[in-house]
């Protein structure tokens, strides 16, 4: 992002926060924030804004219909979810579908005539779709409080969390809107602190680390094994700080407006096993996949096989949601297998007292953290390097 854009954003933020607390009456603050979010998204791309607003209106219409307890509300819910998922898949994976179909002999017109190859993923689309699906599903379940279209649209398009989450839940956000908080200086200061933390994590530490680590990992033959291993650990920390930095800024900016948004990380590298790691990394999206993919599809009348299949598929969905390429496919297999292995080990511990007691010693906790950190760190190689680079790195290490 250029310095000019950063300055414009800071000016926008300064004006919007000032107006929000000093001028705008409480009953209009949700509308004001929606207006700010619309301006923010329009500045990125006006076509995206129109597309998002159309989907927001569509989902609100579906929610209204469902709320009337119509006989076929289940079909409306299903159709809405299918529409939203199809939109996400179209934008994210259209090139994969085209390549696959081409392999089976399907001919496509030249790209410039079709225009289909020019589909660009709208920024923030995934997070928008997640919020929309959450809202319509919970409306069906009767868990959405009475609220206006403005409150709903503001929740979906809220500009601090628009680009990269966290994906908070509507009832939690709306309860804060409805509360109509007064300005609290400690809240504001905490927001500034989180913004500063995010800037330091992302722009100072993470970006600097990347400049040191990536050349080492790209040229493994020129470096010793200890340096490579240290770089792999550094890569894990760099990826964490990069993402956690964005989250800090999003949470901090939200707090400037008095909103407490859910956390996305909970000290993930200090967790004792892979299951705990995944409950503390990218929490908002992982919990979304748990609640709207794993439980509905695999959690109902679940056999052991179905549960383990669900865990594996959930991890595949989580990874392929990032990007639909071979790296993320492998990463999904890597972490899915790791999770299943962990849960199977838990079953063994349940059945055998000796093994349970053997692993229940507190002094093993640091070792558990170290093993988990290593497992996760080596996974980040798949995240960050292409297959050739991974191959070269592993050849050097082994």
């Amino acid at each position: 992002m250029s310095m000019g854009r950063i300055l414009i954003f800071l000016l926008f933020l300064y004006i919007s926060v000032s107006l929000y607390w000093i001028i705008i009456p409480k009953r209009f603050r949700s509308l004001f924030l929606l207006g700010c979010s619309i301006i923010f998204i329009a500045a990125l791309n006006l076509e995206y804004l129109l597309y998002f607003l159309a989907n927001v209106a569509f989902v609100y219409g579906a929610k209204t219909y469902i709320g009337k307890k119509a006989a076929n509300k289940g079909w409306v819910l299903s159709a809405t979810v299918v529409w939203l998922v199809a939109n996400l898949c179209l934008f994210k994976y259209h090139d994969i579908f085209i390549n696959l179909l081409s392999m089976f002999g399907v001919k496509f017109p030249p790209a410039q005539a079709a225009g289909i190859y020019s589909i660009v993923l709208p920024l923030g689309l995934s997070y928008i779709i997640f919020r929309l699906i959450h809202y319509v599903v919970e409306s069906y379940r009767g868990n959405i409080p009475e609220s206006s279209f403005v409150d709903f649209a503001m929740y979906v398009l809220f500009f601090p969390t628009f680009l990269a989450g966290p994906v908070d839940r509507f009832p939690r956000v709306y309860s804060q809107t409805a509360q109509g908080k007064d300005f609290v200086i400690t809240d504001f200061n905490y927001g500034l602190f989180r913004i500063a933390s995010g800037i330091i994590k992302k722009f100072l530490i993470s970006d600097s680390l990347a400049k040191v680590i990536m050349p080492i990992l790209y040229a493994p033959q020129a470096n010793s094994r200890p340096v490579l291993i240290a770089s792999i650990y550094g890569l894990a920390i760099q990826v964490y700080l990069d993402f956690a930095g964005y989250t800090d800024m999003a949470i901090g900016i939200s707090r400037l407006f008095g909103y407490t948004i859910m956390e996305n990380f909970d000290r993930p590298f200090l967790k004792k096993n892979i299951a705990l790691f995944w409950r503390s990394w990218h929490i908002s999206v992982y919990s979304w996949i748990r609640d709207y993919f794993f439980f509905p599809i695999f959690g109902y009348k679940a056999s052991n096989f179905k549960i383990y299949l669900g865990i594996f598929c959930s991890m595949m969905v989580f990874m392929l949601w990032h990007k639909g390429n071979i790296n993320f496919l492998l990463l999904g297999i890597y972490h899915g297998t790791g999770l299943i292995a962990w849960y199977l080990f838990q079953e063994v511990k349940r059945k055998h007292l000796f093994i349970r007691n053997l692993f229940a010693r507190p002094y093993l906790d640091p070792l558990s953290v170290f093993v988990t950190f290593n497992f996760v760190s080596f996974g980040f190689i798949i995240f960050s390097l292409n297959l050739h680079e991974i191959n070269m790195l592993l050849r050097r290490l082994l």
């Binding site: 069906y140 379940r141 609640d291 439980f295 509905p296 959690g299 679940a302 549960i307 865990i311």
Partner: protein
């Protein structure tokens, strides 16, 4: 009615302590099972399965929501509600 609640609570607590806490430790009625790390996603499914088999009730898909079964008390209330004894 009070005995039903106590029996249900006893069975639920015994299951959670045995299966997720390896038979050790105490479990408070209002302890948040998921947030405290006692139960994870897999454990939640197993808990549902235990509840359905032990109390002869059936959850539908829209009821599989962690927030509604996150404490011993909320689990007991859900069971009694579905058995029509609240």
């Amino acid at each position: 009615m009070a005995e039903n609640i106590d029996e249900v609570k006893k069975k639920v607590k015994e299951f959670i302590i045995q299966d997720f806490m390896f038979g050790k430790g105490e479990l408070k009625d209002e302890e948040l099972l998921f947030e405290s790390g006692i139960i994870d996603s897999l454990g939640f499914i197993k808990l549902l399965s235990f509840i359905e088999k032990t109390f002869n009730i059936s959850f539908n898909m829209s009821e599989i929501v962690i927030e509604k079964l996150n404490t011993v008390n909320s689990i007991v209330n859900t069971i009694l509600s579905k058995k029509g004894t609240t």
